[in-house]
């Protein structure tokens, strides 16, 4: 059985780096249930920029449909976990 290369905690840490560094968000805002648009105030332009930064950070491609389906921080963690481990 193949072990996941990256844990959800590790993904969350990377995601936090992108959101804090790239969007000037505070650590305490980044809880799993935080909604990207309503709570973190990312607008449509931010989401495009966020996707690009995330792709560079984790070396993965995120399709537009996948991006549209993301609502919360936890959604991103789950998506990246699935994609990263499917690759390994």
């Amino acid at each position: 059985m193949t072990q996941p290369e990256v844990s959800k905690d590790e993904i969350f840490k990377r995601l936090r780096d992108v959101l804090v560094g790239g969007f000037e968000l505070r650590d305490e805002q980044l809880v799993p249930t935080a909604r990207l648009v309503e709570d973190l105030e990312l607008d449509s332009l931010d989401l495009v920029d966020f996707a690009v930064r995330l792709e560079q950070h984790v070396d993965l491609e995120i399709a537009e449909e996948e991006l549209k389906s993301i609502k919360t921080v936890q959604d991103i963690v789950d998506l990246l976990y699935q994609k990263l481990n499917a690759r390994s």
Partner: protein
């Protein structure tokens, strides 16, 4: 000792005097509402005339056709505002209006307290690309003019930023309302970050215009016939241009720069409206 003369007055039914005042006030109110109706009806007729003129003048390459149409709209709005002043329906004052002299590229941003803000601004700017909501693009009076003038649709945020930056790169002026809709009474909605993204992408200065209207009229959701008692006065204060480059310092990402620029813009407008409140 003070002596006051007493003049015998004819007997008055209780409350008659107080009834006369409201009826005079009601009459004045009705008269103002009627003149407002005339002004709006003439706007509709004017739109048909402008549509016909722009149809005749709609020749040549698209960019030149758009600029020609925008100039016609500018003159039409000037004429309509003159008519509004003649009808004693508004007074308009500009503070530092000379900052809007000349041509682009520049991004003119304004708060949006009343229905006619865009008319006031386009009557001042001989060329400006506006961002138009779907309702105006479907309005039978407006849609042809909007199309010929090359005004931009507000459907897609990313595409809109690209389109605005493209217009600015051509040396044109772009006008937008960062609240995205009309302001709430006496205040502001939270600014969207589109204006900041456009300025940062294009590198063009933002020219802020703070608009106030007293007494308030033509607010969001307020019918045109709900006119105030006095003649409203619009004051448009043009601020110093803001250079977006200073938000792109080393280590600042584009989203962070857009957030900081938007926050500063919002603060500038809140300060401008607050100062107006104190002076009134």
């Amino acid at each position: 000792m003070t002596v006051t003369s007493q003049v015998a007055a004819p007997p008055v039914a209780p409350g008659a005097a107080s009834r006369r005042v409201p009826s005079r006030r009601r009459l004045a109110h009705g008269w103002r509402a009627l003149r407002t109706g005339v002004a709006f009806a003439s706007f509709g007729v004017g739109a048909i005339v402008v549509a016909a003129i722009t149809a005749v003048s709609a020749r040549g390459v698209p960019a030149r056709r758009e600029l020609r149409t925008q100039r016609i709209v500018h003159h039409a709005f000037r004429l309509w505002l003159w008519w509004m002043v003649c009808l004693r329906l508004c007074r308009v004052s500009w503070i530092d209006g000379e900052r809007l002299a000349g041509s682009g590229p520049r991004l003119v941003v304004a708060n949006h307290p009343t229905l006619i803000d865009v008319i006031l601004l386009l009557a001042r700017l001989s060329q400006a690309d506006c961002i138009v909501k779907t309702a105006a693009r479907r309005n039978p009076f407006m849609r042809r003019i909007v199309a010929r003038a090359g005004y931009l649709a507000n459907d897609d945020g990313d595409a809109l930023v690209e389109s605005c930056a493209d217009r600015l790169a051509q040396g044109r002026s772009v006008l937008l309302f960062p609240e995205g809709t009309r302001s709430p009474r006496g205040g502001l909605h939270r600014f969207q970050r589109g204006a900041a993204h456009i300025a940062l992408k294009s590198g063009c200065p933002i020219v802020p215009v703070v608009i106030t209207c007293r007494p308030p009229t033509l607010l969001k959701g307020q019918p045109w016939h709900d006119v105030p008692d006095g003649r409203p006065q619009w004051v448009l204060r043009v601020g110093a241009p803001i250079d977006p480059a200073r938000y792109l310092d080393a280590g600042s990402t584009l989203p962070v720069a857009a957030r900081r620029l938007t926050a500063d813009l919002q603060a500038l407008y809140e300060q401008g409206l607050g100062a107006d409140e104190e002076h009134s």
